[in-house]
Assembly symmetry: C2
């Protein structure tokens, strides 16, 4: 997805939030914004928002000397999500279409985003999901929820590349992967996390903490942008990316980075978190998306 | 009120909205943002947000050659508010404290802000107010709703300067001024509007259209910022400002511009529309404010 002018105020907001999380004082916060102004002026809008996301967090890191301002938040997300695991698993086990429920859960888990929400709000959202309060577009054939198509692609796939999004969300991914394995235990699944800290995106340590490594091979994409931007990925990753039979891409950042990829069989699973992305897809903010 | 770093993303958002209302194409919208970057870099944060507001709309005017992009919106607001007048008046007449109800209405009218809301939302908000759905802080002595203090100042005042905010909101002001006149018909009231178009702020034509001129003398502040910034006001206005016994200041923009004024007896009536102002005052977003 290209960057819209409306993304620019949001870039500044994200930069301020990250700078504050890194305990930057007023002067440093202002310096972060000024450097960002310079970057934005030179930024071609044809590039995707995570490209600028990478720059934003590089500026914050450079000026605050904090390697991972979101470290605590990620730990908190992991612990919160693990504490929810038994209830999520129970919900899945009781469902008449366990794979679909686990897939919906994997999308619901995309709310774990401490950038915008606190733990109470996350618990409430998950509870609302468990109660069936969401109007999920699981009518199998809607363009923004292409479940039938996904199901077929999954059945045919031997090797699946799963692109992770946030820490904590990994627990929801685990339940989904457990169900994929239940359908066919012989499938090879590779779970790709980011190479180094970027916002609250999952790293290898988060995948391990949440137990993904017992189900899938945890790999790094080599990328440190808040989305899998292919030109920043490692050669090893790109080989896997090109050879996988199916790519499951989690989160808005990965969608923004890869939405124009026509050559690979990618399904994007995420909740539309901002009006610009919602407009780009043709859905409402908050919608559950399963889009090829 | 000083400008916070958090105001900066919001400045860019406002600039984009105004540029689009003025039918600016993508290239002009980008140019508006670039010029704004330059202005923001030089902007001392000690100044109030409406100072930058003035600059934003000057840039948009300069690049789009549109004198008044909000003209239609203002007309729409005036007509919508006038259509609500009978119901608002009835609500006031039925109240056991008509002045208080009219004052609350004047604050409720501050929702008429097409920058952020559409007409359906405005009607819903007004309806919610008429139904008594709002938790207004009218317990007379709360610091953010100083009604007892206001009542006393009003009783003692002979000349009242009323600083208008948005078009449409003027109808709500009219009901409040009608009640002030009912308390004491002998008070002289001056209703100050902006000198030239700035966002959806009321101009003389809006005050006349809404019938304020039958109750108060409509004057111009001489200022074209989205808030009454004294150094941009006319000499005539400043004389009135210095001599008035009581100043009633409507809206967040006027609060931001005048909140540090210690020399004059000003009561600020508005709804807190953004988290930064709410934090500055110590209230929640949406709260009804009557603050000296």
């Amino acid at each position: 997805m290209r960057t819209y002018l409306d993304c620019i105020p949001c870039f500044l907001k994200q930069a301020l939030e990250a700078a504050r999380l890194a305990h930057a004082d007023q002067a440093i916060q202002k310096e972060v914004l000024e450097r960002l102004f310079q970057e934005i002026r030179q930024f071609p809008l044809e590039l995707s928002p995570p490209r600028m996301g990478k720059t934003i967090y590089a500026i914050v890191k450079n000026l605050t000397k904090k390697e991972d301002p979101f470290a605590q938040i990620k730990q908190k997300s992991n612990r919160l999500a693990l504490s929810l695991y038994p209830r999520l698993k129970e919900k899945t086990e009781k469902s008449c279409d366990r794979l679909l429920t686990a897939l919906e859960l994997a999308i619901a888990g995309n709310v774990i985003d401490f950038g915008v929400k606190n733990s109470l709000e996350i618990e409430q959202e998950v509870k609302a999901f468990l109660n069936g309060d969401f109007d999920i577009h699981n009518e199998y054939n809607k363009p923004i929820f292409a479940y039938a198509e996904f199901r077929q692609a999954l059945d045919e796939a031997k090797t699946i590349l799963y692109l992770a999004d946030n820490a904590g969300e990994t627990v929801f991914d685990r339940i989904f992967i457990e169900q994929i394995k239940e359908v066919d235990g012989g499938k090879e699944i590779l779970y790709a996390v980011k190479e180094s800290p970027i916002i609250n995106d999952a790293l290898a340590e988060d995948a391990f903490f949440c137990g993904i490594n017992n189900l899938a091979r945890v790999i790094s994409s080599g990328c440190d942008a808040p989305g899998t931007i292919l030109e920043f990925c490692s050669k090893d990753f790109l080989k896997i990316y090109k050879e996988a039979d199916l790519i499951i891409s989690k989160g808005q950042g990965n969608f923004e980075a890869l939405s124009e990829e026509k050559r690979r069989p990618i399904f994007f699973l995420f909740r539309a978190k901002c009006p610009i992305v919602a407009q780009d897809i043709g859905c409402k903010v908050g919608d559950f998306i399963l889009k090829r």
